[in-house]
Structure formats: C-alpha cells, structure tokens
Symmetry: C2
Subunit: 377 residues, 2 copies
C-alpha cells in the first residue's frame, strides 16, 4: 500500500464527461502524460493518481476525490502545492476543496509551533477573545506609525500588526520602522501593564525575510506576519522551521477568490505550514466570503488534527465595533478580533475608541456561549 | 507629479455601484483604510490610489483603470504583486487585466536577460520555430529519465526540459538526476552535432534554488525552469538577478484560472521579472485558454517594451505533432513548440518520432508567414 494524499475537488462537468475529467485531473496531478505512454510498472502502480470517488453534488457539479502518491511531494512545501493543485489551478472548472494528509506530511511540516495557547500565553489572556489592530496608512513616516502604535497600545490592545502594505518602502523602511514602533509599544506597555505584542510584516525573498526576522527578534518581538501566497510556501515554511520561538500570522493577500476553498487554504494549508494565527476576510465586511465559509474556516483552523496545534482564526477586512457581539457569537472566544480602519476613524479619540473596543470584547467574552463544535479530520 | 503604475481591472458591478467599487479598489490597493481617517496630506495626495477611468465593456462589466503610486512598491517583486492585485484577488468580481509600468519599474526588474535572441543563439537557430519536449513521468528513476533525454536529443530537439513534477523526490533527487541527464544530453549532442539544451526544473526555497542553480551551472547548463507562483516572485527575481548568464523558463503551475489575465501574467509580469521563455497552456489542448488569449499572450511576451528584451512564447499542454502547422501559422516562427506526452506515446519509436517533429517544424518554418504584428505598450 503506497501512502496517498486524499484530495477533494469540486468539478463542473456534464454527467457523461465527469469520469474522464476525474481521471484527467488524477493524471495531470501526477505523471502529466498519457498513461498508455508510461512504460514503468512501478510508476503505473504507485505514482499515477487514482480516482477514489465521484459524487454528484448538484446537476453538473461533482465532488471528485483523488489519491495522490505522497512520495511525489518529496516533503517540500512548494511541491506539496504543485501536486495537490498546480496545473489544475489553470482549469476554470475546478476548485480545490480539501485534502487529507497522511501522518508523514503532518510530521514533516509540523503545523503551528505555538497555536492558540501560545498566543494567549504571550498576552496573558487565558480565555476571552483577543484584540488586534493594524498600523496604516502606508506612506506615513515612521514617527507617525509609531505614534499610532503607541496610542493603540495605550488603548489596551493585545496585538498590533503592520498593515500588509508596509513593506520596505523609502518612506518607512523596515530596519528603521520596526525598532521605533517596538519601542513605542514597549513604552505604552510599561504604562498600561498590558503586554501588547507588535507584529511586523515580513516581505521580500528569503534573504530579506531572514534579515527582517533578525531585526524583529533583536527587538524582542515574538510574533511576525507573512504573506504565504506572495513570499511562497517554501520561504514561509523555512522561516517557520528556523524560528520555532516565533509565532506566525498569515495574511490572505493574493489568495485569489474561491479557486482554493478558503477553509482549506487558511484553515488547513497555512496551518500545516506553521501559521499560528490565520487572518482572513470576514463575512459582511469589504469582502465576499459567506458566513458559512467563515465559520467553516474557523473550524478547520481549530479542529483536532493529528498532533498539530490549533491555529487562531483572525477574521478581518472592514470590521467595526458594532460587529463585535455578532463575531463573538459566531466564533466563540477562541478568536482574535482585528479592527483597523474602524478604529482609525476615531482619529484624535483613538485611545478611547481602542479602549472601548477592548472593554467591549472582554465584557462580551465573559458571557459568550462555547465556540461552535470543531470537526475532527 | 508622483509616478504611478496604471493598472486595469475588469470589474462586474451594477451601473449605479461601479464608481464606488472603483474607488474601493483604489483604496484597497493603496492605503487600505477609510480615506476620511487618513490625516497625512502627503498620503492623501501621493499615496492613495486614483481612479483614472471607468469604461463600460458590456452590461454590468466595466474596465476600471487606476493610478497606483509607484513608491508603494519599494521596487520589490512580491510587493509589486501585492500592490497591483493583493487583497483585491480575494474579491470574486475582479480580474487583473493589465498594467503600464513606469520606467523605474522596468529598470529595477529588468526583464529577460537573454530573451528570444539569447535562446536562439544557444542552439544556433537564427529564425525557425524552436522545439522542446519534457522528461516524464515523475517516479521514473534517474537512468530512465536520462535514457529518455538521450533519445530525445538523438531525435534532434533544441531544448529538453524537466517535467514540472520533477522536484527533489527520493526516486530522482535533483543532485543525482541533473548531472546524469546533462551527461546523457552531451553524449547525444556529440553524436548529432545539435547543441541541445537541457533545462532542469528548480524547486524549493531560495537556499535550495541556489544550490540547484549551482549544480546546473557546474554541469555547464545555461537554461533553467522555475515556477514563479510557487517559488514566489521574490525568489524568482533574486535568482534572475544573481545569474545573469542563465536563461529562465517560467512554468504556469498555480497561476489560477483567469483571475489574472494570462497575457498580462505570462507576457508582462513574468517577462518583467526576467522570464526569457514563458511556458503556457495552448488553446485546443488539455486546457481552456481561447486562441485569442493565446495569441494576445504571445504578442505581450514579444512586443516592444522599453528596453526589455522579448520573451519567447512556449505554448504547451497536450500538444501533438498534427498541431504543428496550425501553431506556426498562429504564432509565426518566434515560438518554441513543446510536445511532451504526444512524443512519449511513440515509446520505442521515440527517436524517430522526435526527428519527425523536428523536421516538420523546420520545413514549416521555412514557408511560414511573418508572425502577427506586436503591439507596443
């Protein structure tokens, strides 16, 4: 018995074509050549993808389940993505929905090094929903960003992250920005007693990511944000492996719309690669995810999954103070509520608005019902 | 006047909502916060994205053109993608169609180091269409792949590439595979007199890409293939910059279906990052691109564009010998015809079938009409 990754796709096809289409995907995602031209018996037996199941979901829409040989992945992050979706991503009739990975994949990639508990420990919050905001807009010089961070921290936030647009631009270069913001947050923490964490956004190639990580760690920071679909999963996973003491937030930029089912991409794949907290676009904000997608995403991120720690769901993208009750009801308290622009609109009242946000989250968490049940893989 | 990247999207929206939606994208792709909360005048004037134009293409479909501040890119490859599409990729109503980059972007990224002429020089072919095939299936041990390469080269191919599924798996690890295949191709070249080039596929993080590049160069290889959307544009561009003597082939895996218009992604973005030859899925094969998309893609790859060299179009994905006349008619002779499985089906007659392919391409190229006119940017 060869080890297989069980991968599920949704495929649009006529009823009389779906079997051939399923076999086509199985071949595309394995040997990528006509099977009748494969001369090696071991390849035919152990490498060619297998169609495990085809289920009609609705007229013309099928759930196709394949078994893809684990050894084709070579335990490398980029190649994992290449084998489970790769060329098939170019086809308009397919969506990658889910994958069940064998134990050797879970062990090799390892998942979150800290997960929900590790993030809670950092800020000394055992059970309530966590709070976060973002430093914006890009273009603001470093002192302006640091002042914003100081005031957010005075307001009592648990976490403050860089906007994902903050990279290494001349107006706020990373090496200058991060130490000044870290110092501003430390100063505020000394006043409030809240161990607020600053999360810098790491960008660029692996050399630059490593240098930015070095700067972050030199400032005593123990959380960073990365953009997996821009940095590349290989770079992300290497950084996770090299920095087991650091908690990683994943940012959803360039994840595309619904070609990879968001619960799988954020809740499983980014978690598998070591994402401790997964930021995604919440329903009812600026983005189009449904409530059901978001709830399922949260469940994927936190469900029991081998020895992997749960990752913290961070719904975001146009959230406002008045969404807090509904978000805690939706996700329970194992969640981080991220409000950016909605707080920044308070302008000179930023500290007070942030404090209201934090108090609100604490009060509602105390009354919250238990989170929705997670489904084991 | 601040320098702007002019980015075009196709957006689906009701007529009474398109103006607000266009402004929404301009904000998302710049400051990502409510504009009324931006307190810094310079940010308002020079960083916030501008809506330049909105044109109705058909009922409910609009072409939206934005001006995004060049300085937000910080001349970094990943951040370029982040700013021109990033979060907006998560929206189902948008397609990234095109971008006009200012001169400083073209200079910073530099485009192909070799382009069409550099690839022609490598194999001593001044004008006819070039030929290529792929080493498959993955799972075949190294001697089998080397034997295949030897026979392809005996058949007289210009280029032989690794299948993009060949990574660093235990059954054909890169460090073992590449020297043996390179030697097999050299041996065949000595017999045929054809300077056939072997193109290994580089995978993994930047450390692994560099090590694989070192091995390739130690074997005297001067062409490699990379998967930009898996390795990440930052890693790709760093590798291009560090190896100006090497020609880069880009592979389309994980490019997704039509969320970024293929002519822009392959013909402009991959070219900008240094792709000398861009492999894409041709119409009428296993993939769904239309003939028009493919022709436009080829024109984007080769059109006059600042000081950037033209990149060679490599249509592929289920091509067969009988497609050769139509492909040369479609693309002219500045093209590389890549037939993989279609040759492998010949099995023990592989050398003869490859020779037929090469002879066919040479004969048809001699009679070919000039390529379709390129459109300057």
């Amino acid at each position: 018995m060869t080890s297989r990754i069980i991968v599920t796709y949704h495929v649009t096809a006529p009823a009389d074509a779906i079997e051939a289409r399923a076999r086509g995907i199985a071949v595309e995602q394995s040997v990528e050549m006509p099977v009748e031209a494969v001369t090696d018996q071991r390849v035919l037996d152990e490498i060619v993808g297998e169609v495990r199941d085809i289920t009609e979901l609705s007229r013309g829409l099928y759930e196709v389940t394949l078994g893809l040989a684990t050894e084709t992945v070579g335990l490398e992050a980029g190649q994992l993505l290449n084998m489970i979706y790769g060329n098939t991503s170019i086809q308009p009739d397919t969506v990658l929905v889910d994958a069940i990975f064998p134990p050797e994949i879970l062990e090799a990639f390892g998942g979150p090094r800290h997960g929900i508990q590790g993030l809670r420990d950092r800020v000394g919050v055992p059970d309530r929903a966590l709070t976060c905001s973002a430093l914006k807009p890009q273009g603001l010089p470093v002192p302006g960003l640091a002042d914003l961070a100081y005031r957010f921290a005075l307001g009592g936030l648990d976490f403050i992250k860089d906007d994902h647009g903050l990279a290494n631009q001349h107006y706020s270069p990373y090496a200058e920005r991060v130490p000044v913001i870290a110092a501003a947050v430390r100063r505020a923490s000394a006043e409030t007693g809240v161990p607020t964490r600053y999360i810098p956004s790491l960008t660029g190639d692996l050399d630059q990511l490593r240098e930015q990580m070095r700067i972050a760690r030199a400032e005593g920071l123990d959380c960073v944000m990365i953009q997996p679909m821009i940095a590349g999963l290989p770079a992300m996973h290497t950084l996770v492996r090299e920095n087991p003491e650091v908690a990683f937030f994943t940012h959803p930029t360039m994840t595309g719309a619904a070609r990879i089912d968001p619960p799988f991409l954020h809740g499983s794949l980014f978690r598998l690669m070591g994402g401790d907290a997964v930021i995604y676009t919440n329903h009812g904000g600026r983005f189009a995810f449904t409530r059901e997608t978001c709830v399922t995403l949260g469940q994927h991120a936190t469900r029991p999954w081998g020895a992997l720690k749960p990752a913290l769901p961070v719904p975001a993208g146009g959230m406002t103070l008045d969404r807090v009750p509904e978000m805690i009801e939706c996700y329970g308290t194992d969640v981080m509520l991220l409000i950016g622009g909605g707080l920044l609109l308070a302008r000179e009242r930023l500290v007070e608005e942030t404090r209201t946000f934090c108090d609100h989250v604490a009060a509602l968490s105390a009354d919250a019902a238990p989170p929705p049940a997670a489904v084991a893989d």
